[in-house]
Symmetry: C2
Subunit: 439 residues, 2 copies
């Protein structure tokens, strides 16, 4: 049996997990590959900090070229994250004929098209299972055994920080800022959690997922992205009363008119749907294929060990190709041939059609409901149900919540803009989109 | 682009689905494989019945050798089911150097070792994703991206007929025989449902799953298999009161003492666990890997279209190997090298340790509880809680339900045998095993 030599760029928490997994399960891996996956070099700017795993100091280098220029290294793992210098290192590795494994969703969301084309040109594989859903093997499934399907939709709860915060807000009736503070102290949120709570991380992952499902290159900047910072305890309680739970949901779907919706925002999910039960740091991804129907995947979406599982899984797949003597790459990086990948236009948010929960803060006085309902009616928005919880002695702001039937988002926005000019409205009106059709 | 010619043996409901999928999604498939998967011949004893799909009559044959002896056919799909002649046909196809795709769990559970060895000897692939969980791509995931893990456990709800019956019994409070009759009329149960309701079908699937997870050849006949025919409405209602739902669960796990438990029986699952919500004809499979942690897969476990999705997914994977010029099989059929597969002994049922719900039918008279509790205590069985719902005027049978702490099954059986000799016991006492640790 020959060794397959691997170089690791980026020796942080996840990198240490990869080292640990390759060491702890070396026998399992050899039994499945027929060769030993040998970690040959690790490059990082910091090669002195203790990562909690023992490595031969001779393996460590601060010079990334010690990996990129080593002809014996067949696979490079990129774990530094971010756009640069990750992009440069990955493209150099590909140009040197090395296969690449990465967990970098930001890189793939923005520069995937360039990287996949380079990989195709040089006949190497790029694998990135850890970029979406941590250890959940959903990307392999889409490229692999589910490949016979046309996918109609993909939904995902894919950011552990947001899901942890929303789960605690739901369970404790707590407010966003309090839970965020506590999440930071407990290590469930980064010191600067902007990328997570504003939805950017989820949008990166959705860009990758939707590209795979729909065989499309997707303009990341065209993805509508709304985070969870605007969600309040009152939204969560009203949603629950109507039979829904609020999740930060990534949504990709083909609509009946053949267009593509790709969007990330807080979404109300029916309580009876299994995805509403996905709590804490767990992730879930639900796809619908034209033949397979709905399929759901569930597991730990982040963390050292699950992420290492996905990365080493990618190493094993590539190593099997190497030991099987594949004379050209087995599948294009997106599972489609490059020639079949098309750029796809996304449907503008104004055009999407769904149900909405509208929340108004209005003075408790006669004529308010008639005023709101009148404007909604003029815009062609039909009301399914309405709730006004408290009555006061008049003159005070009370919440009014309305569930609509399916409506065009543009009409909702126009109606709320108009309603917000009325004297009886006390603060900016809000809406949350609903996803009833998760099957 | 060259064609990859495929032969189909067995033109029933699933076969018709494969024909439909290859026709409807031929563009998608060509875009992913770089070649056309061409169904060349279909063999069946009946080539005149209408299957609801149009096929060129010249493609149909009653002579299976027209496929097995055609050197242009590279892949054979076996969909006749059962042990023989399926086994003979599969071995002949392999001997002729053809790759094989099968959905036949019975065949693999009984003759998998022989078939995998033949495939290894002839350097061909055997793929069988449709054998477990219908369209759910769980086997590919275990062999593929999850391969870096040592699996500690696998749990599955994998028989749609049983799950449909138990779901309706739970929802309607109906009894087994009534729901079975209705399920037959609605087509959710076969006219002769023995293989399903006695657990045999689930045990076949578990044999396949456990072989993959644990890298072992498993003696099918050593798998403890208990179906759902003994479950009554009263069991379901008591289970619910204690916070559990009864499912026919396939269980494979490594225990702390290094032994393997592989068993199929009605099992009480905590209501708060997502698997308890898997209803009707849906399947769910939950694995735990040492690095990835718990992962759950959920989807349609049977039916023409989902099963066709898995079968054509297998065709795509093999076709990619062919177009990539793989000069020997990419991975052994179990994901492990043949040399790494070991026969594993299963732990005897008497030795398994779990919690139990015990149900007694006893006369309502003084001393009964003391008598039951005394015997349990003598056998080292500790009681967690007890419920006796109705009180009568004495002399009538009432149900007494006891939840135990963890106990050895042998002790439970011995205690019940002894208790059943007592005068106050009106019918044979029953027990249902509990699975609290699904994570």
């Amino acid at each position: 049996m020959s060794d397959i030599r691997v170089g690791l760029i980026g020796f942080g928490n996840i990198g240490a997990g990869v080292v640990k997994l390759l060491r702890d399960n070396s026998t399992v891996i050899r039994d499945k590959v027929g060769a030993t996956i040998q970690l040959a070099r690790i490059a990082d700017l910091d090669i002195t900090s203790d990562r909690g795993v023992a490595v031969d100091p001779a393996m460590l280098t601060t010079d990334v070229n010690a990996i990129l220029n080593d002809p014996e290294i067949k696979i490079v793992i990129e774990l530094i994250g971010g756009y640069e210098p990750a992009r440069t290192f990955v493209l150099k590795a590909i140009a040197a004929g090395k296969h690449v494994v990465t967990a970098n969703k930001a890189l793939l969301a923005l520069h995937g098209t360039e990287i996949y084309a380079a990989a195709a040109a040089h006949g190497v594989e790029v694998q990135y299972e850890a970029a979406v859903g941590g250890g959940i093997p959903v990307l392999s499934a889409i490229k692999g055994n589910l490949a016979a399907n046309r996918f109609g939709s993909v939904f995902g709860i894919m950011n552990g920080t947001c899901n942890y915060i929303l789960t605690r807000m739901t369970q404790e009736g707590a407010d966003f800022s309090d839970v965020l503070q506590s999440a930071k102290e407990l290590g469930y949120a980064e010191p600067d959690p902007t990328f997570d709570i504003e939805g950017t991380d989820t949008a990166h992952k959705l860009a990758v997922l939707a590209s795979l499902c729909f065989g499309a290159s997707i303009d990341f900047n065209a993805i509508y992205t709304e985070g969870i910072t605007g969600i309040s305890g009152i939204d969560i309680r009203f949603a629950e009363q109507f039979g829904y739970r609020i999740k930060l949901l990534a949504i990709g779907k083909r609509t009946d008119d053949g267009q593509l919706e790709v969007r990330v925002h807080p979404t109300m999910i029916p309580l009876h749907n299994p995805m509403s039960d996905v709590g804490g740091v767990f992730n879930a991804i639900r796809l619908t294929g034209d033949f397979v129907g709905p399929v759901m995947f569930y597991g730990r979406g982040a963390g050292q060990n699950p992420t290492a599982s996905a990365i080493v899984g990618d190493l094993i797949e590539i190593s099997r190709s190497i030991t099987a003597g594949v004379d050209r790459r087995r599948a294009a990086p997106l599972g489609f041939l490059d020639s079949a990948i098309t750029p796809l236009q996304l449907k503008p948010m104004e055009e999407i059609i769904t149900k909405f929960m509208l929340r108004f803060s209005a003075l408790d006085q006669p004529g308010v409901l008639a005023g709101i309902a009148g404007t909604l009616g003029e815009k062609g928005i039909s009301i399914e149900s309405m709730m006004q919880t408290a009555r006061h002695n008049g003159g005070e702001a009370v919440p009014i919540v309305i569930m609509t039937h399916e409506a065009r988002e543009g009409a909702i926005r126009a109606a709320l803009t108009e309603i917000d000019t009325r004297d009886f409205i006390c603060e900016k009106s809000r809406f949350i989109r609903i996803e009833d059709n998760l099957e």
